[in-house]
Symmetry: C2
Subunit: 224 residues, 2 copies
């Protein structure tokens, strides 16, 4: 994702709820780690309070500098509710490994996660809306904006785009090997990490695609 | 996950919020699809309302029949709040492919997701708590319960386990190729799926593991 040309790089928020209550050593302390997590994941989970009830839906997004754009094509009801600018909590999680320890109690996961709180703004200006959609598109399907047909006026009008500033956020991660108590080291149980990888498979052409249309490099060479 | 011996298999809830407002063809209609999504994913996103604000945190879980057990080792504050049995929304999402279409507007994702609403019960009985932990452990690290040291009384007392019945749930999925409007089929843009796969890497022994302790088959032969 592109960085704004004159963006400040403020520290992450230190409001009480974004200051971790436990395992503070797992807290990322700078914007770079927030950006890294947001750019590495593909989808977020958008939480909001709907008629007093919690609701969490998976949603596409993209980051442009210190703004997260959220897409309204799924979770339509939530997005409409969010259009009234209620508070949301957006969480992004990457699972990196299962941590096997000598004890069940110290089994864990290596992961990176980001949590963002805020009141997203409903983007209504057509040019800004197109920009937000492009940012989301370049996150989900980089290269597609310059390859496929861009949204026309009617399509642009039908979609909901939300802009959430990255003002109040926290980053949390666990990395490294299991940490067994010295008293457990005589165990014969195996301890270590089982890494979890994501990778793209082979592109599958649509049944109605002409045989002479090749998959372009932005798809065949896409890497996680 | 094991099935209860005398479990009914009721239809999924049809309360308004679990009856999809759009794209009804994407709604799974039976418990088997709910179980399949829950068993295939590794983590969930737990949403609740904390002091009036939405909060969404990634959390480990496991399913036993029609009960989802949630683990309290991460998201401690949320779990304590949840211990008071407020309503939660638990969402599980599996991303299967990016759907490339001839138009940006029809770009999409193939995915499976489950959403469960309810008021989780704080599990306090030690035997039930141990059972819930075992279910969570077998989901995250199948085979570990019979390999590593099980929780002792002190460890059991320190952990929080929640039990959420699968009474009100919905399942949603998108599968299959892109669906372009016939008017777009003359496009030379590529259309199709780019599948996304998860796979386990090679186990990495802990630095303090004795050289003669091999990784056991439940780890080396683990499959997604």
């Amino acid at each position: 994702m592109t960085e704004p040309t004159a963006s400040p790089a403020p520290p992450l928020s230190t409001t009480p709820r974004t200051t971790l209550g436990r395992k503070r050593d797992r807290a990322g302390t700078d914007r770079a780690s927030l950006h890294e997590v947001l750019d590495a994941a593909l989808i977020c989970h958008l939480g909001l309070v709907l008629d007093g009830h919690p609701q969490v839906l998976p949603t596409g997004y993209g980051r442009d500098g210190e703004v997260l754009y959220l897409h309204g094509s799924s979770g339509a009801r939530s997005m409409l509710a969010a259009g009234a600018e209620p508070e949301v909590c957006v969480t992004v999680t990457l699972l990196d490994a299962v941590v096997y320890s000598r004890t069940l109690n110290d089994h864990s996961m290596n992961y990176r996660s980001a949590v963002i709180y805020g009141r997203p703004r409903l983007v209504t200006d057509p040019a800004q809306k197109e920009h937000g959609l492009r940012v989301i598109s370049e996150h989900l399907a980089p290269g597609s904006w310059d390859h496929a047909r861009v949204p026309n006026g009617k399509e642009l009008a039908a979609v909901t785009v939300l802009a959430l500033p990255l003002d109040e956020a926290s980053v949390k991660a666990r990395t490294g090997p299991p940490t067994d108590d010295p008293a457990e080291l005589s165990s014969r149980a195996w301890a270590g990490l089982l890494p979890l990888h994501q990778q793209w498979g082979t592109p599958v052409p649509a049944p109605d695609l002409a045989a002479d249309v090749p998959a372009p490099p932005h798809i065949t060479e896409r890497r996680i």
